[in-house]
Structure formats: structure tokens, C-alpha cells
């Protein structure tokens, strides 16, 4: 189903966003092909929300290029009808009911599937006539997600969508999302600061840290490109010359290297192992964080 020839739904080049003196996003180059569920991972304040808001057109970039669904994110009905966005704070009108929101959607969107929202709320036992302000946080999140899906968007941008859900609801929601993508024509980007939330569902990764994109690509490809080398404490200059060193952990007796491969590793002193997604993400985050735990020595260059 996944092919490298899938057309890009999102394509940015050196995309930047500065707010007065703060740089929220710096030269982000990101490609998300059609049909992916992309995990936008990064610590708090890494620029995840900024990137999503730029993709929706809620914010304007201060530099770089951005193409979403073949056009520039703009405030017009044609662009907006293709994009579904759910902000982190789940903004709904607190004194209006779910039914009111379904009505609003029907009046503001050319394509609108109100029945799907009612069905979903019914299956979750969420009352449609109660004021949104009197629903629980989880119920509000479910309603907002259902409303976002009711637009039948081609691109779904969700900012921390599972944060407000309990573990069971979280799993159900992600399964629901995967189904929607499997039906075709939908691409999803969802952010979280926890990889564990999304690992099971996503097939694409954008890793942000310190306002910069550290990694972007299909998870399978990324895993295949990286390897962990374990060997004796010795000079690793040759390896660092041939490959891109992401992270090095050196103890008195042993060296552990996380590298981005540019060909086969030929040093027989090192044992070569595949890398797990969590290990990969932590490796890149540790690289940015600089001096993580004391025994960690991180070397590497910015991408």
C-alpha cells in the first residue's frame, strides 16, 4: 500500500516561523506522502503546534515554502474544505451543544457528514443535546475529533489529539483513525510528545526538537537507514567519516554508536544491530539535548 511514488500531500522547504524574538520553527523541510499516518514527535515547545498551524493556514510563515494538497494554505473555502484541524485546547463553543456544532458544520462546509458524528457520539454514550461546557474533557475531545472527521478532509492535522483520552479511548480512537485512512484518500499528521502513544498506528515520522526537524520519513525507511554499533572503546574516526554519527555512548570498556548508514559497515570490531523506533527517537533527541545523562557523550552535527 505504501509506495515511494505516492504524491506528497505536504511539502515544505526551509519553512520558518518567528514570533518577534522567538523562533518557533526554523528551516523545516518536511515531506508527507499521501496515505500516511505521520507521527509528529518532539518535546514540549519543539514547534509541533507551530508546524501544524502553518499547514492549516492559521498562521503565516516568515520564511520558506509550503505546499499542502497542491496549494498554499490559505483562508478560502476551497483550501479549507480539504483540511481538518483539531487544536490542542479542543476549542468548541462551550454554551452550545454537540447538536449545535453538527449544525454549524453543516452550514459552513460543502461536504459534511453529520450522521457519522451522531453515530459516533451514540456509540460513545455522549449526549448530543448537552452544552459542550458540561461534557467531560474526554467526551469533548471525542466530539471534536468526530466533528473534524465529519468534514471528510483529505488531510487531517491533529494537535495532541490523544492527550485528553484515557488509554482505552486512546486505542479506540487510533484504530478508528487507521480505518479511515485504510478507506483511502486520507493523510493524517498527529502530534504528541510521547512516542509510545502513536508508535502502533503511525507509518511516518517527523521528529522535531529545538524548532528544527531532526528526522522526517517513512518509519520503515528510517529504521533501515540507521544502525547501532557496539564495540570496544577505540578510536571511531573512520566510522564517523564514512557514516553520520547520531549518538555515541562511551564507557571505559565499550562504545555504542547510533549511526545513519551511508553503505555497509565494515569494521569487524563492531557488532551491528538494527535499531528500534524508540531508540532512534531518543538518540536524536539526546543529540539535541546535548548533555543528557552524565555517562552519555553526544556528538553529531545538525542535519
Amino acid at each position: 500500500m505504501m509506495a515511494s511514488s505516492d504524491p506528497a500531500v505536504i511539502q515544505t522547504r526551509r519553512l520558518s516561523k518567528r514570533y518577534r524574538r522567538v523562533t518557533a520553527l526554523s528551516e523545516a523541510t518536511v515531506t508527507v506522502p499521501e496515505g500516511r499516518i505521520s507521527a509528529l514527535i518532539g518535546p514540549n515547545g519543539a514547534g509541533k503546534t507551530t508546524l501544524l498551524r502553518l499547514l492549516t493556514g492559521l498562521a503565516r510563515p516568515t520564511g520558506g515554502d509550503i505546499t499542502v494538497l497542491g496549494g498554499t494554505p490559505r483562508q478560502n473555502a476551497a483550501f479549507l474544505s480539504g483540511v481538518g484541524f483539531l487544536a490542542q485546547e479542543i476549542p468548541l463553543y462551550r454554551h452550545l451543544s454537540a447538536e449545535d456544532h453538527i449544525g454549524i458544520g453543516a452550514h459552513l462546509n460543502a461536504r459534511w457528514d453529520g450522521t457519522s458524528v451522531r453515530r459516533r457520539l451514540e456509540s460513545l454514550d455522549i449526549p448530543v443535546d448537552r452544552q459542550v461546557g458540561r461534557l467531560s474533557g474526554g467526551q469533548r475531545a471525542q466530539l471534536a475529533l468526530a466533528l473534524t472527521l465529519a468534514k471528510r478532509p483529505r488531510l487531517l492535522l491533529l494537535d495532541e489529539p490523544v492527550a485528553a483520552l484515557d488509554p482505552l479511548a486512546r486505542r479506540q480512537f487510533l484504530a478508528h483513525l487507521a480505518e479511515a485512512v485504510a478507506d483511502g484518500g486520507l493523510t493524517v499528521v498527529l502530534s504528541s510528545h510521547l512516542l509510545a502513544d502513536l508508535e502502533r498506528t503511525c507509518d511516518h515520522l517527523i521528529l522535531l526538537a529545538k524548532s528544527r526537524v531532526q528526522l522526517c520519513g517513512d518509519i520503515d525507511t528510517l529504521l533501515a537507514e540507521h544502525q547501532v554499533l557496539v564495540g570496544p572503546a577505540k578510536d571511531t574516526t573512520a566510522i564517523e567519516r564514512d557514516h553520520t554519527l547520531v549518538q555515541a555512548v562511551r564507557t571505559a570498556r565499550q562504545t555504542t554508536l547510533l549511526i545513519r548508514r551511508s553503505g555497509p559497515v565494515i569494521d569487524p570490531a563492531f557488532e551491528v544491530a538494527d535499531v528500534g523506533l524508540e531508540e532512534l527517537v531518543l538518540g536524536y533527541m539526546g543529540q539535541v539535548a546535548g548533555a543528557a545523562p552524565a555517562q552519555l557523550t553526544s556528538i553529531g552535527e545538525d542535519q
Binding site: 498551524r53 492559521l58 483562508q75 473555502a77 479549507l80 476549542p91 449545535d100 454549524i104 452550514h107 461536504r111
Partner: protein
């Protein structure tokens, strides 16, 4: 979009309609009483030929009602603060604009419909209040020729609609730029009051060149109808305005008042030739002396015939400012990040 606006604001709309209905009933009932009271007073004074004095002896309505009607001067500011201020600011504050701005509708359309309805509702509401007040004040206007006076001019006719449109536009724009409801309310109130005062005090008297007439102190003149007096006083023999004002006023018959005035204020400024007359019981010899010396009274005023021209000019100023403010809000909503 209209549907969304109605859903969001229908409670406000019901409340506003109920308040207006209550106000209308009150004014219609008391207005009829006042009108018939005035009619019978006029009939009576015509019969006894004492109508010249009617304004001084007849008091219409109750002080409480008069106060209530005078307080409608605050209607535009209230609408600006409670309808205009939160219109966009509340959405920015709670983040619901992110919901609205990611539906299949442009921000411009969203803003246009919201502003359009709130302005229409505010103009209708303010216009209804003003129409009621204008009708209710009819007998009082006829009796006291007051509707061109500052205070009355501001609550009657069409200017209140101009004020309302301006106040609401100011509230919307302040809220859009400040992104917070409370600061927007404060700014709306402050700027609205400031501009109203500046226009009423400094611009309104100059919409058209005022008329100045000079007259014999012994035969004061009063323009016809509801004129607006801007200045009055006494001119010296050389045509210079004298600092002792009020000699030629219509109050010349009110002996006590007049002589008190003379004794306290102008004794030392009256020319020596006339000062001997000042200590008499009647002020008239002193006034006659001043007239012989070449002193004349003058009155600067806007005639009653200009009332509607002034109403139109002032309404136009505020409507123009409202349109300019809305243009600013529209640009901010389109250009700025959510």
C-alpha cells in the same frame, strides 16, 4: 454563517428584545400622558392668553422618567462594550476562532457576516430607543425648544444610530487588535467617550458658520424655535466684546437677578458715566445709559432650521469612522495569525 451567529447570540438577542419592549411600553404609556397634559395646558393658556410664560410654569413627566430618558445617552457605549467588544475577542480568547477558521469558509466571510448582523441589530436597537425618546420628548421640545441643546441633541433624531454603529465597530476592532475582552471593553469605553466629547465640544459648533446678531440692550431678541445658543454678551462702543456678559439677556425683566448680577460682577467695569445708575433699585436706567454710550447686546447661535443638517453631519462623521474601524478589523483578521 448566519445560523452560527444566531446560535451564538440568540440569548443576547432575546434579552435585548425584552429590555427594548419594556422600555417601549414605559415610554409609550408615559408619553401619551405627557402629550395630553401638554395639550390641555396649551388649550388652557390660549384661553387665558398666558402662553408666553408656559415654559416656566409647566413641568411635564416625572424627574425619574426624565433621568431615564437622559441616560439613554449611554446606550451606544453599552452596545459597543457588550456586543462589539466580545464579538471577535471572545473567540480569540477561548480559541473557538480556530474551530471556525478551519471550517470550509473564509475568515473574511466569517467576519463580514458576524459584523453585519451585530451592526444591523445594534443600529435597529439603538434606532428604536432613539425613535422612542424623540417621540416621547415631543411636547418638551415644543415647550422648551430644547432638542438642539447639547445633551438632547445627542439622544434624539438620527445621531444615536451613528454613535451606535461607531461604538460597536470600535468594540469589534479593539477586541480584534487586543485579543482580550476586558482590555477591549476598557479601550472601547475610553475612546468612545473621548471622541464623543471632542466632537460635541469642538467640532459640532463649527459644522456651519454660526450666526451673530447684535441688538439694542433694551430690546433683546430671541431667535425662533429650537436654536442653539453658542455665545451671548455685550459689545462695547468700538464693537469689542465686553467682559460683563448677560446684560442684554432676556432676563432683563427679572429685576432681582439682574441687579445682583450688576452689583457683583460688573460694577467696576461699567463706564464712569453710567456707574451712578448702578445703585438704583431698577437696573433699567443703567441699561439705558449703556445703550446711550453705544453698548449693544449680541447673540451667536445656530438657528433651528439647521437642526437636521447638523444631525446628518454628525451621523455621517460617526458612520464614516465606523466603516474605517471595520476595515482595520477586517485587515487584522485576514492578515494576522490565529
Amino acid at each position: 454563517m448566519t445560523w452560527l451567529v444566531w446560535r451564538q447570540h440568540r440569548n443576547q438577542a432575546y434579552f435585548a428584545a425584552a429590555a427594548l419592549a419594556a422600555f417601549a411600553v414605559l415610554l409609550l404609556v408615559t408619553g401619551h400622558q405627557i402629550a395630553s397634559q401638554y395639550q390641555s395646558a396649551v388649550t388652557a393658556c390660549v384661553a387665558s392668553q398666558t402662553c408666553g410664560d408656559l415654559a416656566n410654569v409647566l413641568s411635564l413627566g416625572s424627574p425619574v422618567l426624565t433621568l431615564l430618558v437622559t441616560l439613554t445617552v449611554a446606550v451606544p457605549a453599552l452596545l459597543g462594550v457588550f456586543w462589539g467588544g466580545p464579538l471577535v475577542a471572545r473567540e480569540l480568547e477561548t480559541g473557538t476562532n480556530q474551530f471556525a477558521w478551519t471550517q470550509g469558509i473564509s475568515r473574511s466571510r466569517w467576519l463580514t457576516v458576524k459584523i453585519g448582523w451585530v451592526m444591523l441589530a445594534a443600529a435597529a436597537w439603538g434606532g428604536a430607543v432613539s425613535a422612542l425618546v424623540t417621540w416621547w420628548s415631543g411636547p418638551e421640545n415644543a415647550l422648551k425648544h430644547q432638542n438642539f441643546q447639547p445633551g438632547q441633541f445627542d439622544i434624539q433624531g438620527i445621531v444615536p444610530v451613528g454613535y451606535v454603529l461607531f461604538a460597536v465597530a470600535l468594540g469589534v476592532t479593539a477586541g480584534t487588535l487586543l485579543r482580550r475582552t476586558l482590555p477591549a471593553l476598557a479601550v472601547t469605553l475610553g475612546l468612545f467617550a473621548l471622541l464623543r466629547i471632542v466632537v460635541a465640544e469642538f467640532l459640532r459648533p463649527r459644522y456651519m458658520t454660526a450666526i451673530t446678531t447684535a441688538y439694542n440692550l433694551l430690546h433683546p431678541v430671541t431667535p425662533r424655535g429650537s436654536f442653539w445658543q453658542l455665545a451671548s454678551g455685550t459689545l462695547g462702543p468700538g464693537g469689542k466684546v465686553q467682559s460683563f456678559l448677560g446684560i442684554g439677556s432676556a432676563k432683563i425683566e427679572l429685576r432681582e437677578q439682574f441687579s445682583a448680577h450688576l452689583n457683583q460682577v460688573i460694577v467696576d467695569r461699567v463706564p464712569p458715566a453710567c456707574s451712578a445708575y448702578l445703585h438704583g433699585v431698577s437696573p433699567l436706567p443703567a441699561v439705558a445709559c449703556l445703550t446711550r454710550q453705544g453698548y449693544r447686546g449680541f447673540l451667536t447661535y445656530q438657528p433651528a432650521s439647521r437642526y437636521w443638517a447638523f444631525q446628518s453631519i454628525e451621523t455621517g462623521i460617526f458612520v464614516f469612522l465606523a466603516v474605517a474601524l471595520i476595515a482595520v478589523a477586517a485587515i487584522a483578521v485576514r492578515r494576522r495569525d490565529a
